[in-house]
């Protein structure tokens, strides 16, 4: 994606107002068209005179049948309209797992463990350099099994971590919403790197004694963007089943996935991935509209797997010594940029105001027909959204997107601070970021949020939510005890 913004012209103040005026004109085009019509009608009426108007009114002989018929017609048309609309999907509430302080992994602990497990000087130095530049803070957490030397990557420990993170998040959610477990109709769980049999969805059904006719699905291996894939599936199910709710769980289980080898491309995930989980309650019941926080407007999925480089850029494999790990390729950022571009191409027309779309279209036509040297116009997404939740995959991802979408530091603050406080919690990171924005008291009714997730495959998925009620500063959430310390200034390099 080209990095240079729209030509220097926009730096001129006068032209900035022209641009504003143009945007206002195009976006309210229909209203502007109606004005002359209304003026003409009122002129005609005024010319007629008040007596003539009264005479005209009395001459309308409306008998009962006609009135009734018109009313009936109006009601019928309104009913048809309402029935044929797709069912709205409301986000009633959500809860994020707050790791206990006993699971904290400050940099010193991480490096010491890396040294004691690996005994390889070069690997430890490499991981230290990564940590220095990672944008992570000292309060990120790893599961209890990873605190052992050597770590215990057993199935039992993995299940224990799953139970800890998932059940805590669900308990919080049940408390917040007052939902009874027996009333859950749909359950979708996504966890990429841990998939036991019976599934994590069966584990949840067992713990909370959910109904036997529940529609449960367990997605696995789908990467960091799987949270939005689960929302997509839940949305489709809610379109089909009236008056239902759906519980979506997004998590990543770290315990079985610690890489114990020395290949550099595989050491990165060790440094970045941390414990986390989110539980989200969706509903299509109209009565939930009153207490719901958000409504889902759009969800767009883009899969770049057809391109070999994109497919291989996040790849689980064995190194030369047989240790399994996830290798991240060097052109990850380029691929992420391309995936985002594809996703934007689909979501742009759905969310951008007419003014931006027209400008983009005109510039495109101009480049093709008039002069191909014109710089491509990058639509201003800040006009379509008030808040952005960019997957906290790593500092480089957030930098890249900030550049590509021309966002300010405040727009990406939620992502950077989530990366600092919680690390890369994979598919649940988007929810920690949303929680940050709410805790800062920035979420108001009518605001639109854009959640963008990237993940192995290579996929780029995005969801657009609209806030339905101003969210009061959270009483209980993962940011409760530390929100006042944020935002923090994260230096480019933290010397260790």
């Amino acid at each position: 994606m080209p990095r240079a913004p729209f030509p220097e012209l926009s730096s001129s103040v006068r032209l900035k107002y022209v641009k504003l005026g143009y945007q206002y004109l195009v976006n309210n085009f229909v209203a502007f068209l109606l004005i002359p019509v209304m003026i003409a009608v009122s002129l005609v009426l005024v010319r007629r005179g008040p007596d003539e108007i009264m005479a005209l009114w009395h001459s309308l002989q409306l008998d009962l049948t006609q009135v009734l018929f018109s009313v009936f017609l109006f009601v019928f048309v309104a009913a048809v309209y309402f029935v044929s609309r797709p069912r709205p999907v409301y986000l009633v509430d959500y809860a994020c797992f707050k790791p206990p302080t006993t699971c904290r992994v400050p940099f010193a602990t991480f490096m010491e463990h890396a040294w004691l497990i690996n005994w390889d000087e070069k690997s430890v130095q490499f991981q230290t350099r990564i940590l220095e530049r990672s944008g992570l803070g000292e309060e990120t957490c790893l599961p209890p099994a990873n605190h052992y030397i050597p770590p215990i990557p057993t199935m039992e420990a993995s299940r224990a971590e799953a139970q800890l993170v998932i059940f805590s998040a669900i308990d919080d959610l049940l408390k917040k919403t007052g939902l009874r477990p027996k009333n859950i109709d749909i359950l979708v769980v996504n966890c990429s790197l841990f998939s036991p049999t019976p599934s994590l969805s069966a584990m949840i059904i067992n713990k909370y004694e959910l109904r036997s006719n529940i529609r449960s699905f367990n997605l696995s291996g789908m990467g960091c963007s799987a949270g939005l894939i689960s929302i997509d599936l839940a949305r489709d199910l809610l379109q089909v089943h009236p008056s239902s709710n759906a519980l979506v769980i997004s998590t990543e289980i770290i315990t079985p996935n610690l890489y114990t080898g020395n290949q550099r491309s595989m050491l990165l995930p060790n440094c970045l991935f941390r414990m986390g989980a989110a539980a989200i309650l969706l509903s299509n019941r109209r009565r939930d509209a009153r207490r719901a926080k958000y409504r889902l407007l759009h969800l767009v999925r883009t899969h770049k797997g057809a391109d070999d480089r994109a497919y291989r850029c996040v790849y689980q494999e064995e190194d030369a010594e047989g240790h399994t790990g996830i290798s991240l390729s060097k052109d990850l950022m380029v691929i992420a940029g391309k995936a985002l571009k594809s996703n934007i191409t689909t979501i742009g027309p759905l969310v951008l105001p007419m003014s931006e779309q027209l400008l983009f279209f005109l510039t495109l036509v101009g480049r093709k027909l008039i002069n191909h040297k014109w710089k491509p116009y990058i639509p201003d997404f800040k006009m379509a959204f008030e808040h952005f939740c960019i997957h906290a995959g790593g500092r480089a991802v957030i930098d890249e997107l900030q550049n590509n979408l021309q966002l300010t530091a405040e727009h990406v603050e939620a992502s950077r601070m989530t990366l600092h406080r919680f690390g890369n919690t994979s598919s649940s990171s988007l929810w920690y970021e949303l929680s940050y924005i709410e805790s800062k008291g920035r979420m108001r009714r009518g605001h639109r949020v854009w959640q963008i997730g990237f993940g192995s495959g290579f996929k780029c998925n995005s969801a657009v939510w609209k806030c339905l009620r101003t969210v009061e500063t959270l009483v209980d959430g993962p940011w409760t005890d530390c929100i006042n310390r944020y935002p923090v200034d994260i230096p480019d390099v933290v010397k260790l």
Partner: protein, 454 residues
């Protein structure tokens, strides 16, 4: 005034017509058609004979003689023939330490060979696929298997992929349920589902008996099938989905832990099958049937069942000893012609068959599938269907019931209606003439029969 009337009438007609059209259109797109399915047939060098099984078992030096005898007894009496298939890593002696490449190769071979055939037979290009679902319970690498398929077949960017995992042997109906739900939200959609199981990374090398059964019974297999809700493809479709019922008894602790992947006391991962499995299965099965029966059976049979039930209760209250323990049976054959039962094992097939009131002819496809292919987990239903089709049993308007059980504990079922006379040999083509065989007894009974005596 007339103008007003005219406008009102036009508006009314337009809205009522568009409403009716929408309702009709919805109905048209609500059907889920099975266009075709292809069952996986591995190459012959992967056949697992009883002799080979015995060698593999002997390689595990931790086993004592009683363990060895127990395992061999299971294999010999399992109803599984010499023609079933296993993964290369086990045949080549790497069962205790399979590499990631071994696991990938096993799954890739199944997926690619069945998908190549499926696209070739249907004449549909991979670029036309809108929804892709893969369900393989015990292997979920990153990137997911759905991404691997998208990469291999260069599918579109907006393809909706879902990678289901951990959902056990009954995952086929779950995948169909997912696709069916997506179908109801979109028109003219094409979906491809791949269902299989991964054996290579899940070979148990310990000494816990409850975990060794899996080693004896699970075999390599898989199936790819194509579904659509496009009415214009109806004439090419084989079957239409009529209803689908899922029952999850995971709320009960026994049910949840009766089939579970976990570590044994020595820390080795295996698939534990507990002694309470039959009881749990019966409970889940009953629950499923309670919802399924009213949807599947004709009204007459349901009425008869109610009457028989009342009579039974009246008699039981008068003569407690004579009628105690005798349950009232429902005749499922009044609503279903063919039964695809999950080939969990000979005992499972017999138990389910007897509960549904089936005779030898009805359970033959399942028994023969167990014999020829072993327990291929979620894809077993499709091999059973393949047997029925190869035997030319599936005629137009016949109804086929697929019934499976899986870890969780789940019992899922779906009812299909056959749309035209089906005659493809499929994976059974080269051997269907030899079925049913004279005897299902293991040919090595002479050599290994001593295990049953001791």
């Amino acid at each position: 005034m007339e103008l007003l009337w005219m406008i009102a009438t036009v508006l009314f007609l337009y809205s009522s017509l568009s409403f009716l059209w929408k309702a009709f259109d919805c109905r048209r797109n609500q059907n889920c058609y099975l266009l075709d399915y292809v069952c996986y047939k591995p190459s012959d060098d992967r056949k697992l004979s009883t002799e080979l099984c015995s060698d593999v078992i002997k390689r595990n030096k931790r086993l004592s003689m009683p363990d060895y005898k127990f395992l061999l007894k299971v294999v010999v009496n399992s109803g599984i023939s010499e023609e079933t298939y296993g993964p290369r890593s086990i045949i080549e002696g790497r069962e205790e330490s399979p590499t990631l490449d071994d696991c990938d190769d096993e799954v890739d071979d199944c997926m690619y060979s069945t998908l190549d055939k499926l696209f070739h037979r249907t004449g549909i290009s991979p670029g036309d696929v809108d929804v892709l679902v893969v369900n393989i319970s015990m292997f979920a690498p990153a990137p997911s298997l759905t991404s691997t398929i998208v990469n291999r077949y260069k599918m579109r960017e907006d393809v909706k992929t879902f990678n289901l995992s951990g959902m056990g042997c009954s995952a086929s109906p779950i995948a169909i349920d997912l696709v069916n739900n997506v179908f109801e939200t979109r028109k003219r959609t094409l979906a491809v589902v791949i269902t299989s199981e991964s054996i290579a990374p899940n070979w148990y090398c310990g000494t816990d008996k409850s975990m060794m059964l899996g080693n004896c019974l699970f075999r390599s297999g898989g199936c790819s099938f194509m579904l659509t809700n496009d009415p214009s493809l109806k004439h090419r479709a084989k079957m239409r989905l009529k209803c689908l019922v899922r029952a999850h008894s995971g709320a009960n602790d026994d049910a949840y832990s009766c089939a579970m992947q976990k570590e044994d006391t020595d820390g080795r991962v295996g698939f534990h099958l507990s002694k309470s499995l039959p009881k749990v299965a019966v409970r889940a099965f009953t629950e499923n049937l309670q919802t399924l029966a009213p949807k599947v059976l004709p009204v007459g049979e349901l009425a008869l069942y109610v009457i028989r039930g009342l009579r039974h209760r009246l008699r039981r209250s008068k003569e407690t000893k004579a009628y105690a323990g005798k349950a009232v049976r429902v005749n499922f054959k009044s609503g279903v012609e063919h039964f695809c039962l999950h080939t969990g094992g000979a005992a499972v097939i017999d138990a389910v068959g007897s509960a549904l009131g089936l005779n030898k002819y009805d359970v033959e496809p399942a028994r023969m599938t167990l014999h020829r292919w072993g327990n291929t987990s979620a894809s077993s239903l499709w091999y059973v269907l393949g047997y029925m089709e190869a035997k030319k049993r599936l005629r137009r308007k016949d109804r086929v019931l697929m019934l499976s059980f899986g870890a969780g504990f789940k019992c899922n079922s779906c009812l299909w209606e056959v749309l035209r006379d089906l005659e493809d040999g499929g994976a059974w083509e080269d051997c269907i003439q030899a079925y049913p065989p004279q005897s299902l007894v293991n040919p090595f009974m002479n050599k290994f029969g001593w295990v049953s005596e001791a």
